[in-house]
């Protein structure tokens, strides 16, 4: 098992960062009730970890017994039936999915699954009705229609089904949905907090950390805890015992973007443009999202340019990243 999974805290009491939020979440679900929740924050900041720990707090260890299923939905869309396939993770009390994976037909999934869950409402020995939790990932990537179709559902089925929504950028979630949830902001851990987690893992693994080593990993992680733990493990695989100035390997694709930036800086000719274009395609065919490529390329170029050009480059990055995402929308 990768360290990111192995050392993912299981309960709200065990978390090493966001302790204050964990404590509040714990209080929030006492009296066996909780509002719809929207978790938002940068990737690798610990949202998923908190959500899973919260489910465990609410439903007990049973929440960890999840089964992974590839489910097919047959949707009656009037003139034809649509088959939609999606992977779900579910326990007795909750279902988790990323509806945006099915593209613009995501709204059918959202509509079907909630109704289904409301029908199979759990009933306890005393005949009292409980609720189920639906965890939806990447709600910022849901189509507008799917987002709208959550609105009244969230009110109508609020007694039988609670939603936990998770996303990176809350600006992309429609206001009507934000209004229906308690919004929980999960900030990226600070470098100091990341160092603490890395040292904890190092200790558990019985490793000797040279001084400043964890700090260097944290510095290169862009405040993503996942990123930091992954590169820590890579370092361990590459060379142990660690040395004080051991290199912290960047991700392959990032190195590739860095090369592209150097190519661009060295020569500005049609021929070079053609080469760079090929390299960019290479990244896209490896499923690195265009927005991510654009941001990384900007990052690399900003390191190399003088002040005036920085403004211009950042303008065009914003412009073309938006153009990419609009194209994606139509292609979907």
């Amino acid at each position: 098992m990768l360290w990111v999974d192995k050392y993912r805290p299981k309960t709200l009491d065990q978390v090493m960062v966001h302790q204050d939020i964990a404590l509040n979440l714990k209080k929030l679900v006492t009296e066996q009730d909780c509002p719809h929740l929207l978790f938002y924050g940068p990737s690798g900041s610990g949202k998923k970890t908190l959500i899973m720990a919260l489910l465990r707090q609410v439903f007990g260890p049973g929440a960890e017994k999840v089964k992974v299923e590839n489910r097919t939905w047959k949707i009656d869309a009037g003139s034809r039936t649509i088959d939609l396939e999606l992977t779900t993770l579910s326990s007795a009390n909750h279902v988790e999915l990323s509806p945006s994976d099915v593209g613009f037909q995501d709204r059918y999934i959202v509509q079907e699954i909630i109704k289904e869950m409301a029908k199979n409402r759990p009933i306890d020995i005393k005949g009292k009705r409980g609720y189920k939790v639906l965890v939806l990932n990447e709600v910022d990537k849901l189509s507008r229609e799917a987002q709208h179709s959550l609105r009244r559902t969230m009110e109508k089925y609020s007694a039988s089904c609670r939603l936990i929504l998770c996303c990176n950028s809350s600006s992309k979630v429609i206001e009507a949905i934000r209004s229906r949830c308690l919004n929980v902001k999960i900030n990226a851990p600070t470098e100091a907090q990341i160092v603490k987690v890395l040292e904890f893992i190092g200790k558990k693994e019985g490793l000797q950390l040279p001084s400043g080593f964890a700090a260097r990993i944290a510095e290169k992680s862009n405040r993503s805890l996942r990123r930091a733990i992954l590169s820590f493990e890579t370092c361990r695989v590459q060379q142990y015992p660690f040395t004080t100035n051991q290199a912290i390997p960047p991700m392959d694709w990032e190195e590739y973007v860095s090369e592209i930036a150097s190519d661009i800086m060295k020569e500005q000719s049609p021929k070079r443009l053609f080469q760079v274009r090929g390299k960019l395609y290479e990244l896209l065919t490896n499923c690195i999202p265009p927005e991510i490529v654009m941001k990384r390329l900007l990052y690399e170029l900003l390191k190399r340019l003088d002040a005036e050009l920085k403004h211009e480059i950042c303008h065009w990055a914003a412009y073309y990243a938006l153009a990419c995402s609009v194209c994606n929308l139509f292609a979907a």
Binding site: K128, R152, S171, R178, L182
Partner: protein, 334 residues
Amino acid sequence: MAPMLQSSQPWVEKYRPKQVKDVAHQDEVVRVLTNTLETTSCPHMLFYGPPGTGKTTTALAIAHQLFGTRPELYKSRVLELNASDDRGINVVRTKIKDFAAIAVGSAQRLGGYPCPPYKIIILDEADSMTEDAQASLFRFSWIIEPLASRCAKFRFKPLSEEIMSSRILHICKEEGLNLDAEALSTLSYISQGDLRRAITYLQALRKTVLGAARLFGSSISSKDLISVSGVIPQDVVEALFTACRSGDFDLANKEVNNIIAEGYPVSLSLSQLFDVVVEAEDISDEQKARICKCLAEADKCLVDGADEYLQLLNVASHVMRALCDMPEEFNYES
């Protein structure tokens, strides 16, 4: 066996007004509707406005007031369709047809209000109905023109701070909570006219601040509210603005990265930055105008799904160029 969870009613539902007259702030709407309810004629109505201002509440209250006293009638007279149910062509067509097919009896008076000889269809969230479904609605003989032009339109305003406060105080009283004046105005401020949001905050804080032991008369402070609301601390926004003033691109980039890492919604940073800019005394109107223009453009881009970091960085770049009197357009000769 896993512990069973009991769900109780969230306060937003618990305090949803059941009568049209109890809908707060929407005075004109309420006046017109109260008149309508006393006669038997009823126009098609279209409610519009921002979230949490009472649209669904009002529609349900009308239905309830007209037919609620006769539950056996309610089912055959009120049809609720919303974006959450599948509203493809077929559904809308068959559901409405079936519903309209059942004949209604003549008008009878019931509990002060007439029981009107018509049925109600609530098309909640009509704006998000699929287009073909909207089109199929037009084909009904009684709706020939596009929907909107056949409806009496009612605009629901964001609730004013006063109304919001009085509604919140009412709930606090019912639930045995204390809010001081400062907390009350903070709550109104962070909810931005959305009463649903205010009530949600209140219920969450009741639990997190006061804990499970429910002490009657315990209080919630303004600080507690700020910490749950995701509002950006003023010094964070100021820091970005100061960085822009300095003319140092890398410094501004660092502040932007910080805002993103802290998870502050960029749409919110834009509006808080707007406040800072408008209030700044040492910058010219022209500079302010330049900045406002770029803020507006970025806001639009965010709605269209643009990346938050890139938009905020671009805004920072514009603000910096405006403050340091650098040209707005880029120079392409050479």
